[in-house]
């Protein structure tokens, strides 16, 4: 696949998609077909492939895409992916938080009385590393959907999850106890493409920095 820009770009579907396409428009790549077509995944003429944000690092690491856009949350969770993190794109701001039910902190209570806290998350490695770094024992329970449900049903005492506004947490009677890190969209590159397509990638970087 050899699009006009010379680069294959992995674009995340979901919350980051619109801002990402706006950015790609500003690079002079026409994204109207991508915006107009919800089901198509591969847009060969303009060098765009669309996917879940958590798959972007996979495609870029393997060289199936030269560069890509994904959240820092994904890069933190998949820290062993061999990709270059080139630029903080600033948008898509979210916070990775530790949250529990409101009232007396059940996580602190579990740690005090039982010595271990149960934590539900979609970000297994992130949560594991955070509790290790803060010297607390935790049993990490990996769930695939609606993490908020886990503490409400007694599955766990706490959750580690990404939140933009905190609305979902509040609606489920959960409060933020600790903030792990702020996540924004990042531009990443395949290590081989970073050398072999250096001028094309530097050109993109320059335009994004200027824009």
């Amino acid at each position: 696949m050899s699009p006009a820009s010379g680069l294959v770009i992995a674009v995340p579907r979901g919350a980051l998609m619109r801002d990402s396409l706006d950015l790609i428009d500003a690079l002079g790549i026409d994204t109207s077909e991508v915006r107009g077509n919800d089901r198509k995944l591969l847009f060969e003429d303009v060098g765009i492939v669309t996917m879940r944000p958590s798959d972007v690092a996979t495609y870029v690491e393997a060289g199936a895409a030269d560069i890509g856009i994904t959240g820092k949350d994904v890069l933190t969770e998949q820290a062993d992916r061999e990709v270059y993190e080139l630029l903080d794109l600033q948008y898509g701001r979210c916070v990775m938080v530790l949250a529990t039910r409101a009232g007396e902190d059940p996580a602190a209570e579990a740690l005090r009385r039982l010595g271990v806290v149960r934590v539900a998350t979609k970000y297994y490695k992130t949560a594991q590393a955070y509790f290790e770094a803060t010297g607390r024992q935790a049993e990490i329970v990996e769930v695939k959907g609606s993490v908020e449900l886990a503490p409400l049903t007694g599955l766990v005492e706490a959750i580690v999850d990404l939140t933009a506004t905190g609305t979902t947490l509040r609606e489920n009677d959960l409060v933020i106890r600790e903030e792990l890190f702020v996540s924004t969209a990042r531009l990443i590159a395949n290590p081989v493409a970073h050398k072999l397509k250096a001028s094309a990638i530097d050109d993109v970087l320059e335009r994004l920095r200027a824009g």
Partner: protein, 307 residues
């Protein structure tokens, strides 16, 4: 079913013939340049001080006396051991090649195996820039012999960034943080950590291209000499890359990686390890490289599809 451990694989005759042809092509060039093939044991005593950085990938076991053994995780250290012991009385330079499976406890995902075949050369007792030029030349001739067409060599220098940090006066505590981000390929983190410091700390490691990327840079003389010493057809393959950081701790000077446009990860790499021989009791400058035979085969197949 009888599964095999993850990160290992069986090779059947059709593939084996092709792999064999790749190895034979490499071996012919290595021998032509005087790099005699040697073999060392797959298990060796743990050499203590000499560790691959991170060190998480090495398989260790105990023998019946409780001594720590390790499964070889590369060929550079064993060959350095041979040069320091079996060739202790032989005048350098020493040239060796090897074809050996090495073992690393990585999490296997695309292209990462726990057992894989490395083909490599080590040139011991030949200093920079001459030794580095020879290693790059042998590497290119060997890849040419396999029929690979569109490869490039990324060439950097492990001493450039430390020299730059020294020159612009980075405090000790910050240095390791900057290096961590560099090895982790995280330019966002690097820019954060270097905020308020000399902008060259962020700009220089993103430079890649021809010899012009070395302009105005302290400590770049070595790389300039290597590049100037290369024959034209080798120099054409080289992309100077000032951010190249190989994650093996023993590299001291020039470092390089082999890329092919059809494969998303390096096919091989190498560099100077001028301190390693000293740790083994025979101080000599040295340089070497290794190529992953399986990934090289994969690149050849991918290039074939494009034609």
């Amino acid at each position: 079913m009888h599964p095999i451990p993850s990160g290992t694989r069986d090779v059947l005759p059709d593939e084996m013939r092709e792999l064999r042809a790749v190895s034979d092509a490499l071996r012919g060039v290595f021998e032509h340049f005087g790099y005699g093939e040697i073999y060392t044991p797959a298990i060796e005593y743990d050499l203590g001080a000499i560790r691959i950085s991170g060190d998480t990938g090495v398989y260790r076991l105990f023998d019946d006396h409780g001594a720590v053994l390790q499964l070889r995780s590369d060929m550079t250290v064993p060959i350095a051991r041979v040069a320091a012991t079996r060739y202790a009385a032989v005048a350098p330079p020493l040239r060796f090649s090897s074809f050996a499976h090495v073992y690393r406890g990585v999490r296997p995902h695309r292209g990462q195996m726990r057992e894989f075949l490395q083909a490599g050369c080590e040139l011991i007792g030949s200093s920079a820039p001459g030794g580095t030029v020879e290693a790059l030349t042998v590497l290119c001739r060997a890849l040419d012999a396999t029929g690979l067409r569109y490869y490039r060599i990324g060439l950097g220098d492990a001493s450039i960034y430390p020299a730059l940090m020294e020159a612009v006066g980075v405090e000790d505590g910050v240095r390791s943080e900057l290096l961590d981000h560099l090895v982790g390929r995280n330019f966002v983190g690097l820019a954060h950590a270097a905020d308020g410091l000399d902008p060259m700390l962020v700009e220089v490691p993103q430079r890649r291209g021809g010899p012009e990327v070395l302009d105005g840079l302290p400590g770049a003389e070595g790389l300039r000499q290597v590049h100037a010493g290369l024959e034209d057809d080798v120099a054409e393959r080289v992309i100077l890359d000032l951010g190249l950081a190989r994650d093996l701790a023993y590299y001291t000077g020039a470092v390089f990686e082999v890329y092919d446009a059809s494969i998303g990860r390096p096919i091989g790499g190498g560099g100077r390890y001028d301190e390693l021989m000293g740790q083994l009791g025979r101080p000599l400058p040295a340089v070497g490289f290794a190529v992953g035979v399986d990934v090289l085969h994969e690149a050849l197949a991918a290039e074939e599809l494009k034609r």
